[in-house]
Structures are given as structure tokens and as C-alpha cells.
């Protein structure tokens, strides 16, 4: 079970969190004209990298904040965690 550092609460066990998917996806701006292809990419297409990945976790049984976690998907090593509003490297 992973041990995730929540920037708001400290290190907590994985079972306090819900996984939220790829954190690098950016929602297209509201009211912006975009092609089917672009929208399709946003809604459906996700990379599933082996190795370093920036992902979202929701501290659902804690502070209820969404956080960003930089994790190695094959070793589970967590390099760094960020607040939702923090810029990632």
C-alpha cells in the first residue's frame, strides 16, 4: 500500500485517497471553438507511461483536496507531491 505525502496533511496511507488519473491533461477553455479531434484527445486519450508520471490523487478521506503526485508507475516510487495550485516542474 502506497504511502502518499499530502501537502496539506502529511504522509497518509493510500486507502485515504482516490486515484484521479493523469494530471497533465488540461481542459480546453470554456466557449472556445475546438475540433472534434482536440476534444476527443482531452476526453479520452491518456498516456500510460511506464516510469515517471504526474497523476492526480484526491485525499477523499482526509482534507478532500486534490493533489498532484509524481510517481514511478513501475516501482511506485513517489518523487514529489504538489498542491493543486502549485506549479509542477
Amino acid at each position: 500500500m502506497l504511502y502518499i505525502f499530502c501537502p496539506h496533511c502529511g504522509s497518509r496511507s493510500q486507502n485515504e485517497f482516490a486515484y484521479g488519473g493523469d494530471a497533465t491533461v488540461k481542459r480546453p477553455e470554456l466557449n472556445k471553438e475546438i475540433s472534434d479531434q482536440e476534444w476527443n484527445n482531452f476526453v479520452y486519450l491518456r498516456k500510460s507511461p511506464r516510469g515517471k508520471h504526474l497523476e492526480l490523487w484526491h485525499h477523499i478521506s482526509g482534507c478532500r483536496q486534490w493533489i498532484k503526485v509524481e510517481r514511478d508507475t513501475s516501482t511506485h516510487e513517489i518523487f514529489k507531491t504538489y498542491r493543486a495550485d502549485e506549479l509542477t516542474e
Binding site: M1, L2, Y3, S13, F42, V43, R64, A84, D85
Partner: protein
């Protein structure tokens, strides 16, 4: 039976406490501190089971966790516990155990005929032998094999024992209390680290309890006693015996099962049987020791053949002799220690050493004691069926290929030692790669993957001095890293006998003309010939060989067999062991009971049960409950002998005719607050929200980004910057996460806060033509007239002194209101409404009537908003704004969502007006069409319309709008029904919505 094999002046069992137990119905005595194994051996019992495949007699092979043979079934308080290792289970007064895998009895086992039909059970026999004719497999072969196989029978009764879970955090977890575990725990604890020391056996000390060594001028046993006593007294140390750390997971999470009352005759109240520990450790020291390897020779599975270290432990810990005419067969010095122990206890052993001219202190000591030793000698085969009676021994040539001078000598046990295998399981589970160490012919952990180190004999260190020094250093080093303290304890001096090198020889060749079975895996009956066959048949990868032959796949997970199996494969392939590699170690290290994994989360505790504040009232008024997610909701209120159908019809009718009250507390409620709340709702919902005035509610639909409807509900503007959102019961948690996602990650610039208030409000829906009259009596000081509180209006009121919120919203399609009060006043509110409502013929209604009312009104719910529908499909397209953008809007213009014949909700009425249509039925044009019959859609919800007194269903079908008026068929292959139906509008009752505005 008397304990003929019990020694008088040795052992750690409590001789003052005699304990009786039964084995296969027969009564035996042992002492407190005995295991089933030691007590039975004391009584001269060596036949305890039958092997898995050939049903060969099984005795005891080890003395602990590695035991492959003595798997018994325990009976206790009328409960059955299968897969109990006799070498681990301590006896208690009244314990009942029996043998498994034998019928009718362990002494006379019909299945043993398999032993003479060996040719039908080669490696992979289940792929070959029982293949023809195919129809025989299910009826004859499989039932027969299933009856013959298996280790015991699980109880089918509810397990009444209590199991618990516990979470613990520590600086340092140490797995195993042998010399390395004790020394490192002591060093770390003295340096201020928070330490957990786990020992799977009842007694601490590991090999120190049985080896003839001296630490700091004390015997090994005395020293371990002293250390453990001191550790127990320290507040920063948790010491646990009977506790097996069986799994090493990510981020230094280890799981341990503690057997708390397995050794007690009866569990005391509130005392769990076992406890599962989840331990998050900053650092881990794996000091799990090593397990002796067997030597392979003919019939080496005969009862009486056992590990030499086990024989020694039976003597030194339990005061029990495994035999009175022992033969020691060894390729290293360990066998000598056992022989010396026998000699000290008045028994004359014979040592067969495979080595030619070994020399060491301990060999000299054995010689000086007058123990007979034959060098360059091996056991060719054990003789005897249910117990070793003699052994064929021989001289072996220097190249270890040829046998000579074969002679038979009498013996009653054969103690084997093929050197030691480090227990690297936990390190491997942690993710370590292992490396083969030529010096010890075994794998040891390579580089630490997580924050862990392996120490002592688990790391291939087989001298005590080396072990103790390393452990003290590691304990200090690791604790220093965490605590930054510098308290170093002094390392005691160690006195031990120096050992000579072991012999790499491990498998005795067959003499000419003999075909003895030489077993590698004792639990799954895998012999040398099986591995040879698998390789002849082309299996190469060790993972494949393992699965084909089942080597190491039994409940002991090959603790004693794996390395010999690898040796054999590499010998045949002319490779070396590291080239062959080893199979993967996975948790659990030892079998763990399902009970302890589940813990308290059984039955009603498997998930929380949520109840509304009015729950007791519902119970008192004969409510029959239904699970709605984790909530319990009244499904109907039973009067007399009413059925569900009758009761729900009565309740729904009463709503249409008079007035009903329904508990709607379970609806999700979310407070949305902040200056940008209106803008936020405008983006979340498909319809417009910017102009909703204070004191008004609006129905809204929210989508996922892919355009699918996520949830619906009403949201009310309580004040300028405060909205009260409701969600469906099922989606409440998801909607909150959804809102938080957009506020925190997508539009952080919006100044809005959301919080769940579901538990804060108790809700009652009051529905029916009499509802306003009732409301007027409930709130005499508020204007609840049609003008004062119009449809979709909101107002605060005073309910007999309790502040209440009144929403004029309707799910039933009738004139209806929802009254909310703070949860603590929920029951008060409910009782007042019932009391005042009497004169208006009020009746409570449950979810079944609620469904009937909404279905015949064509109001959609979860069965229509099923994760596949877009607003159009549910006839909600009128709520989709064309002007503004919102979550999921862009998806709605995708081609599949704009097709002209897109599915749409319709009503379905059977032509005969009497046959109810099963939910899930297909709507088809031609019931006799060729399969697969092209379906137009499915029936999502069915009810008995109380308005028209005939069945009515909702369905979502292709091109629904243009289907209205058509005669089609509803088919339910599940219920084997085909019903001619007419498609009608989904708004079956009051299509203009006059009633809600009345």
C-alpha cells in the same frame, strides 16, 4: 498411552501442567508448551497424514513454519480449522485434531492405491491421464480427483471467532527474534528507536534455544531471555510472539498475523482469535533466519525421515526424542550437533557424512564422545512403510557417482541435513533481486529495494560471531539514521564451535536396478523423475517446470524443496543454479486465515449502514427496508398481510388521492457558497443558472465531460451567495468529488466553497392534493398559498418551534413539498407531520410507491440515467442551454449523439393491460426474428400505474419519438416472456404538469 519418547531433564515445556487432547479420536497427553507435533512424537506417534497425490504415509519433517507433512484439521468449539501445521499449533486442554487427505483412516487409506498406480500420475498427469473420453471428466475424473485431493475441509458455518485489524507505525520492524533479531533490536532500542520485534514462534531466541553457544558468558538461551526481558520493559519497543510477518508491500508496509488465542482452550470475551497488523516501518531488518535443506535419497518421504535441526529442537525445546536408534545423514557439521544432543540424552546415533575427510572442532567432539561416524557414506533408501525401520546405506565414490558396499542397518529415524537455505522471501517480496552465493549454495538478497536490510543467516551469515557483530552494528546504524542518537551498546563476546565446509552433494544416485522414489517436494509429491520428465517434455523455464510439476506450489510454498528442485534442473541442463534462476516469492509467506484478512468487516460490518433520523419510527410502523447504497430506506409499510405489490399500490394511490409522506433524508445535499457560486453552477449544470432569484429552486442536470448524464436534482438559492444543491442518493459522493475537482484544479479562480450537508438535514417529502392544506396547519405563520409559495419556491418556516426549510418541489408529479429540519429534529418533524396529517388521511410511503409515482409521471431516475444516456435520451434536451458552455457540452455535438434515430425514452403499455413487463426486457419489432434479434432498446423501469390501474413501463428505444403509437413486443428471455405492447409517451400521467403547479 505413556510418553515413551519424553526425556526427563531437558526442554522448556511446563512439566507441572499436563494437557490432554485427542488426535483422530484417540486421547493423548502432553505438557503445556508442547505443539501437537512434539506431543504426538512424545507419545510415539509418527503417522499423521497421507500425501497429496500418492497417499503415502506422512509423519513430521520439520519443527516449524517449513513443515510440509503434518497438516491437520483442528476442531474447536464445534468449529473446523483446516490447514493447521502440527509443528506450530500448541496443544490446549480439549484440543481435537484429525488427519486429512485419508479415507477411511490414516492407518488404512484407500487412496494409497495411487502409490501402486504411479504410472498414471506422472508430472502434469491432469493434462494427460484423465483426458479420454472427454465426457468422463466432469462426471467421473474430476469428482474423484477432488475427493482424493485437498488438505482438509473448511467449515461451512459462520465463523463466530473475532478477528481484528490494527495499524502501527514504527522506526524499525525486525522480523524474527533469533540472534540477529535480538541483537539488532537491542542496539536500536537502546539508541532510542521505536522498534517492533516479531517472532512467529511462542518462544523467542530462534537458533539460540538449540545451539551450543555462549554469548557474554551466558548460554544462548539465557542471553536471549535476558535481552527479551529488557526489550519488553522498554516503552519504545513492541515485542510480539506467535506473530508472523507474512507480506512485504510497497512503501515499507508489512503485514503480520498475530495468533492471539489459537493456543488457548477457549477465547475469552472480547479477546480476538487473531489480529492482523498493518505496519508502516521507516526501516526493516529481515532476520528471518534459514531453513535446513533436505538431502534427497530413496523413499526419503517415509515417516521418521526429518530435518536434523528439527530432531535437535524436539529434544532441546520440547524434551522429546524423535527416535531411539537415530541415523544422522549429513553433508555438513549441523548433523553433528544433533548427534551430540542424542548422545547427551543417552541415545547412540550413527552419523553418515557424505564428505571424505572433514575436520572441525565439532567433529572431534563427536568422535571424543564415542559417536560412530561413517565418512563418504550415504543413505540409499529408507525402508519401512508407515515408519522407518531400517536404511540401506552405502559408501559413495569420490566423484559421488558410484555406490558400493550397500548394507542394511536398523534405525527408527533418519535425521538429514543438506546445509541451510536463507529465508529470503520477505526481501524478495520487497522487490530485491537475489544472487546465488556459491559458498552456501543458496540465494541471498542482493541490493535493498526498499528501506530494508537482511541480516544474520537470512543473509547467508552462518557463524554466530559474524551474525551478532553485524546485527549490533546494523541496529545502531539504522536507528542512528532515524533518531540521530549515538548511544552505542557494547557487543558481547561470542564463543562457538568452528565449522568445516559443507559438501555440495545433495542427491543420492539410484543403485543399479532400483527405482526408488526420491522426493523433492514432500507436500505435492514431486519426485526427481517428475522433474526429469518435465525437462524431457521440453519445459525449460523454471516457472514452467514449477507449474507443470507443481514443485513448490503446496501450502508450504516449497520452503524445503525449492533449492533442491533448482539444483536438479541445473544438473540435468548442465547449467549452474543462478542460470536457472528461481521462481518468484509472493505473499503470504505462510498460510494466513481468511478470517484474519477480513477482520471485523463481516456481515453487517462489511460496510457501514446509514440510517435516517426517522429510522426507528419506520421500524415501529412495520417498514420493510431496502438497501439504497449503504442507506436503509423503507420500501413499504406493511399493513396486515399485505404483499409488496398491494402495499405499494395502496401507498401510491393515497398520494394521488390524499397526501403521503416519504423519508427523503438520503438525498445528497451539498452547500455551494461564495460570490462565484452562480457562475460555477452555470458551468456545472446544462441549463442556465445566472438569473435564478433568491428563494427559488431549479431542476438541473449535470454531465460528465463525455456528455453522459452524471446526476440530476434541484438546487435552491437560499441567499445571494448560498445555494443548497441536492443530488441523487447514489451519486452524492461522486458529485462532491466532481465539484471539488473543477473548483480546485480547473477553475481555481472561482471563489466558491462546497461542503456536504447530507447528514445535517432530515428531509420529508409531503405529496398529494391535500399537501397544501396540511402545510397550512403545520406552518400557520407562513404564507404557503400558491402565490405565497409557488411551484419551485422556497421559504423558511417555523415547525412548532423548530426552524424548517420548505421547498416546493415534486418527484411524484403531485402538488408536493419537501420539508427539511436539522437532523436531530428529524423524528420530531416526522411525528408532527403524521399527527397533524391524520385528518388529511396521510400515510407514509416507501421507495416502491415513490418509484411507481415517478415512473408513471415519466420522471427519470437512476435506471434511466445509467451512465449511457445523454440528455436527449432521457427527454431532458429542453434543459440543455444552447447559449452558454458547460461541462460536457462539446461532446453533445459529436456525431453519434446527434443521429436522428438516437435512443429516446418512451412509455410502454402491454396490449392486454394486465401483464407486467419485466425490467430489462428487450423491445423488438418481430419476436420470431432470427437470432440475434435486433433490439430497439430496453425496458428501464416498470410499475403498476395506480392512475390507470394497468402495468406501465419506461423504455429507452431507438428513434423513440417516432415510435409512439406503434405496436411492438417486449421480450424477456430471462423470464421467458414475450408481451405485445404499445409505445406511448413517457409522460403517462398529467403530461402538462398541471398538478405540481396547482
Amino acid at each position: 498411552m505413556s510418553q515413551d519418547f519424553r526425556l526427563d531433564n531437558i526442554g522448556m515445556v511446563n512439566r507441572n501442567k499436563k494437557i490432554s487432547f485427542t488426535f483422530n479420536g484417540k486421547k493423548y497427553f502432553g505438557y503445556e508448551g508442547d505443539t501437537i507435533a512434539s506431543a504426538l512424537i512424545a507419545n510415539g506417534v509418527h503417522l499423521v497424514g497421507r500425501s497429496f497425490k500418492y497417499h503415502r504415509p506422512r509423519g513430521f519433517f520439520g519443527v516449524g513454519v517449513d513443515e510440509p507433512y503434518a497438516i491437520l484439521q483442528l476442531e474447536r468449539n464445534n468449529e473446523r480449522d483446516p490447514n493447521i501445521r502440527a509443528t506450530e499449533q500448541e496443544i490446549f486442554e480439549g484440543l481435537e485434531v484429525k488427519s486429512v487427505n485419508c479415507w477411511p483412516s490414516v492407518n488404512f487409506d484407500i487412496g494409497a492405491i495411487n502409490n501402486f498406480l504411479k504410472m498414471f500420475f506422472p508430472a502434469g498427469f491432469y493434462y494427460k491421464t484423465f483426458m479420454w473420453p472427454p465426457s468422463f471428466w466432469y462426471k467421473i475424473y474430476e469428482p474423484f480427483i477432488r475427493m482424493a485431493a485437498g488438505f482438509g475441509e473448511a467449515s461451512i458455518k459462520h465463523d463466530k471467532e473475532r478477528y481484528e485489524h490494527k495499524y502501527e507505525y514504527c522506526d524499525l520492524l525486525i522480523t524474527g527474534s533469533g540472534p540477529s533479531g535480538l541483537a539488532s533490536a537491542y542496539a536500536a532500542a537502546k539508541n532510542g528507536a521505536r522498534v517492533i520485534l516479531a517472532e512467529d514462534k511462542p518462544r523467542y531466541g530462534g537458533s539460540l534455544l538449540t545451539s551450543d553457544v555462549n554469548i557474554g558468558n551466558q548460554t544462548g538461551a539465557e542471553w536471549s531471555e535476558k535481552i527479551i526481558t529488557e526489550l519488553k520493559s522498554m516503552s519504545n519497543v513492541i515485542v510480539k510472539n506467535r506473530s508472523q510477518v507474512f507480506g512485504y508491500y510497497d512503501h515499507n508496509m508489512l503485514v503480520m498475523s498475530e495468533r492471539i488465542s489459537d493456543h488457548l482452550p477457549k477465547t475469552q470475551k472480547y479477546m480476538p482469535k487473531q489480529r492482523l497488523w498493518y505496519i508502516r516501518a521507516k526501516e526493516v531488518l529481515i532476520s528471518s533466519g534459514s531453513i535446513e535443506r533436505p538431502l534427497v535419497f530413496g523413499n526419503n518421504d517415509t515417516p521418521g525421515v526429518m530435518l536434523s535441526s528439527a530432531a535437535k529442537e524436539y529434544m532441546k525445546v520440547y524434551g522429546v526424542l524423535v527416535g531411539k536408534k537415530p541415523l544422522i545423514f549429513t553433508n555438513n557439521d549441523s548433523g553433528y550437533e544433533t548427534a551430540i544432543e542424542f548422545k547427551k540424552n543417552g541415545v547412540n546415533p550413527l552419523i553418515l557424512d557424505t564428505r571424505k575427510e572433514p575436520f572441525s572442532d565439532i567433529i572431534t567432539e563427536a568422535k571424543n564422545l564415542g559417536i560412530e561416524i561413517k565418512f563418504s557414506h550415504v543413505v540409499v533408501a529408507a525402508k519401512g512403510y508407515k515408519k522407518v525401520k531400517s536404511a540401506d546405506i552405502a559408501k559413495i565414490s569420490d566423484n559421488k557417482k558410484d555406490l558400493s558396499n550397500i548394507e542394511n542397518i536398523e534405525c527408527d529415524c533418519i535425521c538429514v541435513s543438506g546445509f541451510w537455505t536463507p529465508s529470503i522471501h520477505l526481501a524478495s517480496q520487497s522487490g530485491n533481486k537475489s544472487e546465488f552465493n556459491e559458498k552456501i549454495d543458496a540465494f541471498i538478497p542482493k541490493k535493498s529495494k526498499q528501506k530494508e536490510n537482511t541480516i544474520g543467516s537470512a543473509n547467508g551469515k552462518f557463524t554466530l560471531e559474524e551474525t551478532i557483530n553485524e546485527a549490533f552494528d546494523k541496529g545502531y546504524e539504522v536507528s542512528n539514521k532515524i533518531t540521530e542518537n549515538n548511544n552505542k551498546v557494547s557487543i558481547p563476546t561470542v564463543v562457538e564451535k568452528k565449522s568445516s565446509e559443507h559438501d555440495k552433494f545433495w542427491c543420492v544416485p539410484l543403485p543399479k536396478g532400483k527405482s526408488y522414489k526420491r522426493f523433492l517436494d514432500f507436500q505435492n509429491d514431486v519426485a526427481v523423475t517428475d522433474i526429469e520428465l518435465a525437462l524431457r517434455e521440453g519445459f525449460r523455464s523454471i516457472e514452467h517446470v514449477k507449474r507443470y510439476t507443481t514443485l513448490g506450489m503446496a501450502t508450504d510454498q516449497g520452503k524445503t524443496s525449492n533449492l533442491n528442485g533448482l539444483q536438479l534442473v541445473s544438473d540435468i541442463e548442465n547449467k549452474v543454479v543462478p542460470q536457472v534462476g528461481h521462481t518468484t516469492f509472493r505473499p503470504p509467506y505462510t498460510p494466513v486465515s481468511i478470517g484474519v484478512i477480513v477482520g471485523r468487516e463481516v456481515g453487517k460490518h462489511s460496510k457501514p449502514t446509514r440510517k435516517s433520523p426517522m429510522h426507528e419510527w419506520h421500524e415501529k410502523n412495520n417498514a420493510v427496508f431496502v438497501d439504497a447504497g449503504v442507506w436503509l430506506r423503507p420500501r413499504y409499510y406493511k399493513q396486515g398481510n399485505e404483499t409488496l405489490f398491494e402495499a405499494s399500490k395502496r401507498e401510491a394511490k393515497n398520494v394521488r388521492k390524499n397526501v403521503g409522506i416519504c423519508d427523503v433524508t438520503t438525498l445528497g445535499k451539498i452547500d455551494v457558497k461564495g460570490p462565484d457560486a452562480a457562475e460555477f453552477l452555470n458551468r456545472v449544470y446544462t441549463n442556465a443558472w445566472l438569473k435564478l432569484p433568491v428563494g427559488k429552486a431549479r431542476y438541473g442536470v449535470m454531465l460528465r465531460e463525455d456528455g453522459i448524464v452524471m446526476d440530476d436534482g434541484t438546487t435552491t438559492r437560499i441567499s445571494e451567495n448560498h445555494y443548497h444543491m441536492t443530488t441523487t442518493t447514489a451519486q452524492a459522493a461522486n458529485v462532491l468529488s466532481h465539484l471539488e475537482y473543477y473548483l480546485q484544479l480547473v477553475w481555481p479562480e472561482l471563489n466558491v466553497n462546497v461542503v456536504s450537508t447530507t447528514e445535517q438535514w432530515a428531509g420529508a417529502a409531503i405529496a398529494g392534493p391535500n399537501s397544501r392544506a396540511l402545510l397550512m396547519k403545520l406552518f400557520p405563520n407562513s404564507d404557503v398559498s400558491n402565490e405565497g409559495l409557488p411551484f419551485m419556491g422556497y421559504k423558511e418556516g417555523d415547525l412548532f418551534g423548530t426552524p424548517a426549510k420548505i421547498y416546493r418541489i415534486s418527484f411524484s408529479g403531485e402538488l408536493a413539498y419537501e420539508v427539511n429540519v436539522e437532523s436531530d429534529y428529524g423524528n420530531f418533524m416526522w411525528e408532527k407531520i403524521i399527527e397533524v396529517g391524520k385528518e388529511f388521511q396521510i400515510q407514509p410511503y416507501g421507495t416502491e410507491a415513490l418509484s411507481t409515482l415517478r415512473i408513471e409521471m415519466g420522471h427519470v431516475a437512476g435506471s434511466e440515467l445509467d451512465g449511457r444516456t445523454i440528455p436527449h435520451d432521457a427527454s431532458l434536451e429542453g434543459l440543455v442551454s444552447k447559449k452558454k458552455d458547460f461541462i460536457g457540452k462539446r461532446s453533445l455535438s459529436r456525431s453519434a449523439f446527434t443521429k436522428p434515430d438516437r435512443e429516446k425514452i418512451v412509455g410502454v403499455v402491454p396490449l392486454d393491460k394486465t401483464t407486467s413487463i419485466p425490467e430489462g426486457s428487450y423491445i423488438v419489432k418481430d419476436p420470431k426474428a432470427k437470432l440475434p434479434n435486433p433490439k430497439l432498446g430496453h425496458v428501464s423501469a416498470s410499475c403498476w400505474s395506480v392512475e390507470y390501474d394497468n402495468p406501465f413501463s419506461l423504455a429507452i428505444i431507438k428513434d423513440g419519438k417516432n415510435m409512439i403509437g406503434q405496436k411492438l413486443f417486449a421480450m424477456s428471455p430471462l423470464k421467458n416472456k414475450t408481451i405485445p405492447v404499445e409505445i406511448v409517451s413517457s409522460h403517462y400521467v398529467d403530461p402538462e404538469g398541471k398538478r405540481v403547479r396547482a
